[in-house]
């Protein structure tokens, strides 16, 4: 017991003892059989109804942080990248264009071609001739949805239809047969 002083007035002494007991109960809430209510709710009840930031940590992290907070953790460059660093990145061998080793010469026309691709010149040649044949077919048919149910045979100058081309549709082209268009 700390209180040693005994005031001469008995009423004051009793009041002091009661105050001391109340303080002790407040400081040691784990005291068994504490009748007085704990401090927290008592203070909260007396406080005003709305509080700006009462207990910020207890509300949890379910709210997304505002824009002002998010700026703090967004990634941003710290220093300007020097031209030397930029050059190392732009000129390293992975970024340079690689030399192609799959280019050959087309045996037909002599132009360059890639090994796994058709020769561009020869393809253009064939495409042009095919276009002219299709123009002839369109003239013969005269409109869409008129394709016949039989096969088509293309004949050039001086060629006659063979025996196996009996029932087939014959398209004539007024020029010499090109060397690449084989006749069967």
């Amino acid at each position: 017991r700390v209180v040693v002083l005994l005031s001469p007035l008995p009423r004051l002494h009793g009041l002091l003892q009661r105050c001391w007991r109340r303080l002790e109960r407040g400081l040691l809430p784990g005291f068994p059989g504490a009748q007085s209510p704990p401090w927290g709710p008592a203070l909260a009840v007396q406080a005003p109804a709305f509080l700006p930031e009462p207990v910020g940590d207890s509300r949890g992290s379910d709210e997304a942080p505002s824009l002002l907070d998010s700026i703090l953790w967004m990634a941003a460059p710290k220093k300007r990248r020097t031209i030397e660093v930029n050059r190392c990145r732009r000129r390293n061998p992975a970024k340079l264009i690689k030399v192609k080793r799959n280019i050959d010469v087309c045996p037909e026309c002599g132009n360059l071609k890639q090994k796994h691709v058709l020769c561009g010149y020869c393809y253009a040649k064939v495409k042009a001739e095919t276009h002219l044949i299709r123009v002839e077919i369109q003239k013969r048919e005269g409109g869409p949805f008129n394709a016949p149910t039989v096969e088509t045979v293309v004949l050039y100058e001086g060629e006659k239809p063979a025996e196996k081309d009996e029932g087939k549709r014959i398209i004539e082209r007024p020029r010499k047969r090109p060397s690449w268009f084989a006749q069967n």
Partner: protein, 208 residues
């Protein structure tokens, strides 16, 4: 700023304070050779003038000087950084190999460079006395920055950005003869040897 000059637009742009007509004493005739007008559309560049140098005929004992052909194309609508990759690809190749590589490249600048190389080859055979058009190799190929133009690029929500419309120049120098052999890459051993050589060649300075 300098609106007093009637016929010389270049002085307004370059040096506004230079007034050649003020240097002449009053009363003298105005020589027209002081002022020259050059339109900004066709300024004759440094690279084009390199084709004009003429060497004297070679003496019998001299080693043969290979023919050099300079050609360029200005204001190509392409980025100089992207064009640089193609220029780096064909540096040091023979002209046939360069044309083959450019033909099968997917880049936009490849078509332009191919045209430039074919033009240069034609020029070489016609004007520069080159015997075989395949006997050329690319000594130098460089890109330069053309004139940029700023424009507004509209974004959403009323925002805007300023974009640059970039253009580039392309320069090429063809030299007659087979391409030089590629130099072997520098190994660590070479670097170490050079370092030791540097250390050995040190001397004492400011001493007796």
């Amino acid at each position: 700023l300098c609106c007093f000059l009637v016929g010389s637009a270049w002085a307004c742009g370059l040096l506004g304070w230079v007034r050649p007509e003020r240097w002449l004493p009053s009363g003298s005739l105005f020589p027209l050779s002081w002022i020259h007008t050059s339109t900004s559309l066709q300024k004759s560049g440094y690279w084009e003038k390199k084709n004009r140098i003429v060497y004297p005929p070679q003496l019998p004992g001299e080693p043969r000087r290979p023919a050099e052909i300079y050609h360029c194309r200005r204001e190509i609508k392409y980025s100089k950084d992207k064009m640089w990759y193609l220029a780096k690809l064909i540096k040091g190749m023979s002209i046939d190999q360069a044309l083959a590589q450019l033909e099968f490249s997917d880049k936009k600048g490849a078509k332009v460079i191919k045209e430039v190389l074919l033009e240069a080859q034609e020029m070489a055979v016609r004007n520069h006395n080159v015997e075989f058009k395949s006997n050329l190799h690319i000594a130098e190929s460089m890109t330069g920055r053309g004139r940029y133009v700023k424009r507004i690029r509209y974004h959403g929500k009323g925002m805007f950005g300023i974009m640059k419309i970039v253009r580039c120049h392309y320069f090429v120098k063809l030299v007659e003869g087979p391409p030089p052999p590629p130099e072997p890459p520098r190994t660590g051993f070479d670097q170490a040897k050079e370092y030791v050589q540097q250390l050995r060649s040190r001397t004492l300075v400011h001493t007796l």
